[in-house]
Symmetry: C2
Subunit: 242 residues, 2 copies
């Protein structure tokens, strides 16, 4: 059998992976991925052949996975959802006659949301602040339009050493459209080892604790904090208890 | 033990549920949910007490789940992610001293995306066209700003009998900002029994096949169809093969 699975393993802890993703990994001969993601699923892949490389090695990794899948069962793994800032797009762009199946996973904003309550309950968007492949001007424009549209905003790749000021600048853009007490959550390593989170408001937001393992979620105009829990109401008119 | 799990079961087929969600359901005494979602997980809940009701019974369902969780282990189930248009928000709004854990799932846009390729690979948003709890004017404004911001747009609850024209009107708004050959996917029952999908462009889009079990995904300005697969490029500059 020969096949290439493009798998989203979810937040990283094995328990939030789908049953389908687990089964596909188990039946694979070869596992391909960024070295840190491979570490996360170690207990599942004992005895399998591994092709791991570092950051920015995405194209090599995908070409190798496609080549290997011509006569083996291969899994390319990403954290979160393979279809959201993951490897599914590049694999499908490069694919010729290989057999590819995309297996989705729980994306990072869903994982981070579950940790702090229910901030994504209404219309919401995912924006990556990484400017490796997108002009920063386009990113800022998107942040501004999302803020104007009152979307709940999840910021992926919120901060790295090469662009320490982007997050602060984007938060300042959002501030033009939301009140100072709008909740902001920073969740690091959501639903995996090392999980921690802090709730802020737009006013007291402190980006110093944010890094590349974090997701930042900014509420919409109706979001609130109730006893340490971040809630965006869906809009139910909650009646008095009977 | 007493506890309330708020569970996203993912697209509906048991295999795309997370291991954590499955385990929580298995250890629950009582399962609460919309009757159609309960049907989907029947093989998992044999012998358990069930509290199911119909659409628009959300508040009753949540109050009952909270009440029952005072001396039992209870799971409230939603399809997709419990934290995106699911039950997590309402449960947390109504919660007093009950112990609640939100368990996320694969949301419908991720599931639909995996079926048609990799349309969500770049910045993307989820918008519900249901006007039960949101003014239609606010929905249209969001669609317009998302189109202007070049987000990939996933439309949830795209059509119902009470509002047959919203989808067409929203597609027409998006058309002002995207070219006619922008890909549009309609996916019904993504990753569960009865799955079907059709790929359109903004120009030849036909909403007659869309219903409440569908997700509609509109690509961004760089999305394309390659041999029947819907791809939004992440932005990798793909080199010539060695």
């Amino acid at each position: 059998m020969s096949k290439l699975y493009v798998i989203g393993i979810g937040p990283g802890g094995l328990e939030h992976m789908s049953l389908r993703a687990k089964k596909a990994i188990e039946e694979s001969d070869i596992i391909v991925g960024y070295i840190k993601y491979i570490e996360m699923i170690k207990p599942l892949i004992q005895g399998k052949e591994i092709y791991a490389n570092g950051m920015r090695g995405e194209e090599d990794r995908c070409r190798e996975a496609l080549r290997l899948s011509k006569d083996k069962v291969v899994s390319v793994v990403s954290t979160g959802d393979s279809g959201i800032y993951g490897m599914a797009g590049l694999i499908l762009e490069l694919k010729k006659d290989e057999v590819v199946e995309v297996i989705p996973g729980i994306t990072a904003s869903s994982a981070a949301a579950a940790v702090v309550g229910a901030p994504l309950m209404h219309d919401n968007c995912n924006i990556s602040l990484s400017d490796l492949m997108t002009e920063y001007e386009a990113i800022k424009k998107r942040v501004e339009l999302a803020a104007q549209g009152d979307f709940v905003i999840s910021l992926y790749n919120p901060k790295s050493k090469g662009r320490p000021h982007y997050l602060r600048e984007c938060i300042d853009i959002i501030k033009k459209y939301r009140t100072e007490n709008t909740p902001v959550a920073v969740v690091r390593h959501a639903l995996r080892q090392g999980q921690e989170y802090t709730l802020f408001t737009l006013e007291n937001f402190d980006e110093s604790i944010v890094d590349m393992f974090s997701i930042v979620i900014v509420g919409n105009s109706k979001s609130f904090i109730k006893e340490g829990v971040f809630i965006t109401p869906r809009g139910y008119k909650v009646g008095k208890e009977q």
